[in-house]
């Protein structure tokens, strides 16, 4: 899936003061690409991901997902796009504490059943857990798992509806460097083997350089 932003701009108003989170961002992402976004804190990295992921609306400019222009005023179509095309991975894992590992992976499928029966959904959730190497932890609650395990489950969850695009906002930010590496390896594998488009925000420039194209951002602008 291609991703393209045109003149993407986002302001926040703090009282009368204008905060520029994104400033005319033009970005083109080819099918199956892996992009790492780096930049100082407050430069607009998360904002960029949220707008592309249809969680936030831009002040100006457009986003094209697979060539289709996103209509940010149409709430229903935003929900549909998030269901079908986007998988989110967060810095703080964000698993649902009431649900065990496999149920957490299954959770997004519940909103996007696509005619899959409960057992079919359970089966594909187990396959995803298997892929991230955690099939043995299927029945564990989040409170019983380590940070690295939680993030791998979160990645499996992001894949639940087989999205073309994975948006990962500092997925290794809360992990030690060794566990972080294993997460990066997992993402690389998804990119190489499954052909997923990945946009990742990271502060680990060294690791990111080895596996992806780097985009630097400062004060909401992309540095060439």
């Amino acid at each position: 899936m291609t991703v393209e932003t045109r003149d993407l701009t986002k302001y926040y108003w703090m009282g009368k003061e204008k905060v520029v989170a994104l400033d005319s961002v033009n970005l083109k992402m080819e099918e199956g690409a892996f992009i790492s976004v780096v930049g100082p804190s407050g430069s607009g990295k998360s904002t960029l991901l949220n707008v592309i992921g249809c969680l936030d609306a831009p002040t100006k400019g457009e986003v094209y997902l697979a060539g289709w222009k996103v209509d940010y005023r149409n709430k229903k179509s935003l929900v549909r796009l998030r269901r079908k095309f986007v998988g989110f991975v967060f810095q703080t894992f964000n698993l649902i504490p009431a649900l065990n590992a496999v149920e957490n992976v299954e959770y997004p499928m519940y909103f996007n059943k696509e005619g899959r029966s409960k057992s079919e959904r359970r089966e594909s959730a187990m396959k995803l857990l298997d892929m991230v190497g955690l099939e043995k932890r299927a029945n564990h609650l989040p409170s019983e798992l380590s940070g690295g395990e939680l993030q791998r489950i979160a990645i499996a969850r992001a894949l639940a509806n087989d999205p073309k695009l994975i948006l990962a906002d500092e997925p290794t930010g809360n992990l030690d460097s060794r566990t972080g590496k294993s997460i990066l390896n997992l993402l690389t594998r998804l990119n190489n083997e499954e052909g997923k488009n990945i946009i990742m925000v990271t502060h680990d420039l060294e690791s990111a350089k080895k596996m992806s194209k780097i985009i630097r951002i400062l004060d909401g602008r992309i540095l060439e």
Binding site: N50, G53, L55, D56, K75, K76, V79, R82, R83, F88, F90, N94, I96, P97, A98, L99, Y107, P108, Y110, F111, N112, K118, R157, A160, N161
Partner: protein, 403 residues
């Protein structure tokens, strides 16, 4: 749907104590309503049973119809029409008049048939015989009190003959007193009602003496109480007035249902407390799970999905509250019966109290339990609407950013 509820169960399972407390709050409200309603229902059933025991529900009392100032008399043709109705076993007409004996004793006279005695089964002879029906005889039967009075005032007893004056209103309202001779053929045992003061003669004879060709009233006996109402309607359709014990029962039912509704409504105020507890708990729950809501939206949940999730939790709370409320309500009504009955029996005293002693003063019907359950579920859902809507409308980003 099943998954929605199993997910809701999981969420509720994480805060068992809190859920238990709201459920208990709702259940107590429901139980209060059930207890009070069962008391009203119990007293209604008791009252109706007492009426049924002392009244014959298969008998309909018919009198001349009065409508807009015009009177519809009970003529022979009307009588025949009623006799022909389905479910009518027999018809017992009567005529009434008052005659004056020699020493100015007024006699309330009723001309009757043997059917009349079948309806009024408390007319039992003390001595003597009933007159032969249809035969033109001057024999009469005296009620218990009349017999005593005639014995004292007129010095008359069984087998005696005496003359009475019958006052007739002739043409141009001229009065005409007509004499007639009667023979006392029998005397009744005390019936304990107005019959003790009446004198009975054969209906044909009475009509002749009175120069009447209509009846003053009649009793209609039907084969089954279930058809009394329809037969009564038919009789009223003829322009006549009809009453049955069912009228009294209907009145009692109407009154008791109204009283029960009012009491139920006020005891239902305790439900408001339960509802507020649900609102409060669900709002807290929305706050606690703000991040989870944002996450769900990021993972593809629509506003409606979120709303459904919260409402499903309310439904579960309502269902458990309803079941527990029904159980508590049954217990509550048993308690009212145990504690309240001795009090009511002594307060009412006499026959009424004795009647209560036998049965239970509370009755829990399936309808009451179903209503209690429904109240609990509906109340929980309604209380959950605002919190659920609030959850559904959260901005996913703001929600995700929460600590």
């Amino acid at each position: 749907m099943k998954e929605l509820f199993s997910l809701a169960c999981r969420q509720l399972g994480r805060k068992k104590l809190r859920v238990f407390l709201i459920v208990l709050g709702i259940a107590i409200g429901v139980a209060a309503v059930i207890g009070v309603t069962s008391l009203g229902e119990g007293i209604r059933v008791q009252a109706v049973d007492q009426i049924k025991a002392s009244h014959d529900l298969t008998t309909i009392e018919v009198s001349a119809g009065v409508e807009d100032g015009s009177v519809t008399l009970i003529t022979d043709s009307k009588l025949k029409a009623i006799e022909r109705e389905e479910h009518v076993l027999f018809v017992a007409p009567y005529v009434k008049d008052s005659y004056v004996a020699q020493n100015n004793t007024y006699l309330a006279v009723k001309g009757i048939t043997s059917e009349y005695r079948r309806v009024q089964s408390n007319l039992q002879l003390e001595i003597g015989d009933w007159f032969d029906e249809g035969k033109k005889s001057n024999e009469i039967v005296l009620g218990y009190d009349v017999a005593k009075r005639l014995a004292v005032v007129e010095d008359l007893g069984l087998g005696d003959e005496f003359t009475v004056k019958i006052r007739l209103y002739g043409e141009e309202s001229r009065l005409k007193d007509k004499p007639a001779v009667f023979k006392i053929a029998g005397i009744l045992k005390s019936a304990g009602d107005e019959h003790d003061n009446q004198v009975f003669i054969d209906i044909k004879h009475a009509k002749e003496l009175d120069e009447k060709d209509s009846y003053d009233g009649l009793f209609v006996k039907v084969d089954d109480p279930a058809f009394a109402a329809s037969v009564r309607d038919k009789i009223e359709g003829l322009g006549l007035t009809a009453h049955s014990a069912q009228d009294v029962i209907d009145e009692v039912n109407k009154l008791m249902v109204a009283i029960t509704l009012v009491l139920g409504f006020f005891s239902g105020i305790s439900l408001v407390v339960g509802a507020l507890m649900v609102v409060n708990t669900m709002i807290i729950s929305v706050y606690e799970r703000t991040k989870e809501i944002g996450l769900s939206k990021a993972l593809g949940a629509s506003d409606f999905d979120i709303m459904k999730m919260f409402l499903a939790e309310c439904v579960i709370i309502g269902v458990i509250g309803g079941i527990l409320g029904d159980l508590l309500g049954i217990g509550f009504s048993v308690l009212i019966d145990l504690v309240g009955k001795p009090f009511l029996v002594s307060a009412l005293g006499g026959e009424l109290g004795a009647g209560l002693q036998l049965g239970s003063i509370t009755v829990v019907t399936p309808g009451i339990l179903a209503a209690g359950f429904a109240i609990s579920v509906v109340l929980s859902i309604v209380s959950g609407l605002y919190p659920a809507r609030r959850a559904a409308r959260l901005n996913p980003l703001d929600a995700l950013r929460q600590i």
